[in-house]
Every structure is written in C-alpha cells, then in structure tokens.
C-alpha cells in the first residue's frame, strides 16, 4: 500500500540530515521554529537559507550544537576558539567551539520578501536593533542587581 503523507520527525534527526548536506557544501532551507530570533526570524513564518563558510563573523546568524540541541542564534562575540551566541530575543547566551558551528544564514524569506543578510539595509537594521537590545539588557541587569 502506497503512503505519501506529512512527516513528523525529531529535531535531532531533522538537523542531522540537514548538517550532512551542509557539510557536503549544499545550501539548505527550512522554516524557523521558536521566537528566540524575533523580530528578524519568526516562528513558522520565516524560511532561512543556510550554507557553511570558513570564517564566521560577529553578527552572523549561525546553526550550531549546544548541549545536544541544535540552535539558530546570532554570533555576538568571539574569543580565541570560543564563539558566544545569543538569540536576538533571548537573555541567555551560549558559548560553543568552532567545530560545533555548521552554517550561517545567508538569506531568509518572510512575507514573500527575500532578505540577504549581506545587504546594507539588513545590516543597518540589525545594528540598530542590537544597540537597543544591549541597552535593555544593561538596564535589566541594573534593576535586578538593585533588587537583590
């Protein structure tokens, strides 16, 4: 009996297949799950396009493995062989080694619009948002510190 249906797979299995293709040098795309990269990437609405590269730069949104989970967050700092990531909408960061980074988002599609992550408009929007976010996180730490 022939069966052709929608497939539900675990994140682990899904990303292992994707990473295999990325390692071969293929470009892949998938729909974003979760809102930790809001306002740039939206749950179930944004399709991200990824490929690997040799040098990941601060500001890149990367796919990496952290504590056995596959995560798509922005590189915010690099210190020697350690790379520090944080979701644009997250408070906590993740520190990972270079070998656990698989690819970066070179473009994404939201609302029918394809956005290149190398475009000046996108980079300007990211800089502006991250500056606001840094202020928010700084004030948050300050307020929480004063409460203790």
């Amino acid at each position: 009996m022939i069966c052709l249906s929608k497939l539900v797979v675990s994140n682990q299995d899904f990303f292992e297949t994707i990473i295999e293709d990325l390692k071969k040098g293929d470009k892949v795309s998938f729909l974003v799950k979760g809102n930790s990269m809001k306002p740039f990437l939206l749950d179930g609405l944004t399709e991200v396009f990824l490929m690997k590269k040799d040098d990941y730069l601060v500001g890149d949104i990367c796919l990496f493995k952290y504590r056995d989970n596959y995560i798509l967050h922005r590189l915010i700092k690099q210190h020697k062989s350690h790379f520090i990531f944080r979701g644009d909408n997250s408070v906590f960061s993740e520190t990972v080694h270079e070998e656990d980074i698989y690819a970066y988002v070179y473009q994404y599609q939201s609302d029918e619009e394809m956005v290149s992550t190398a475009s000046p408009e996108y980079l300007k929007r990211v800089r502006k948002y991250l500056a606001k976010r840094r202020t928010y996180l700084f004030l948050r730490r300050l307020i929480r510190g004063n409460k203790r």
């Binding site: 009996m1 022939i2 069966c3 497939l7 675990s10 899904f14 297949t17 998938f30």
Partner: protein, 88 residues
C-alpha cells in the same frame, strides 16, 4: 510521465522524504514521506519517462502482489504526484 528534475529523495532517520531544490537550496519545508513502494516508483519516474502500463509491468515483476491492487496504488500515487505538482 516523469518526476521533475528539481525533486530529490532524502533520508531522515529511517524515513524517505521528497524535497524540492529551488533557488540553489534543498528546501526542507512541506516535505512528504514515501514508503518503500512509493520510493521505488518515485526513483523509477525520476530516471525515465513511463506510462502507467509500463510502470505496472515493472511493479508486477518486482512485487508479489495482486495486479488490481498495484493498479490502484499507481493511480493513487500518480494523483498525489499531480496534486503536489511533482510531474513534468
């Protein structure tokens, strides 16, 4: 009939899935799964043009199954391929 060039089979865990390649990327969204029989038909139609009778003949050689059941399977599968715009 023949499967369009820009569709490929990928394996996720033990499942076979069909995904499109569009804008140079393998696009893992709205993926569909195939069982072994469907995978056989997909791979056959991916590699060569065939009509339903030729496909039935090939499947009768490969599977020990009732002809009417195989015909029904082929019809169902072709309909699904058409609905998903996978045929040239």
């Amino acid at each position: 009939m023949k499967i369009k060039e820009n569709y490929v089979i990928k394996t996720i865990k033990d499942e076979f899935v069909v995904v499109p390649i569009k804008d140079e990327a393998i696009r893992f969204r709205g993926i569909i799964t195939l069982n072994n029989t469907a995978k056989f038909i997909f791979e056959t139609l991916k590699n060569r043009v065939m009509d339903k009778d030729e496909l039935l003949e090939l499947m009768l050689e490969k599977y020990d199954a009732d002809q009417s059941l195989l015909e029904k399977d082929i019809d169902n599968f072709v309909r699904i391929l058409e609905e998903n715009d996978l045929l040239e």
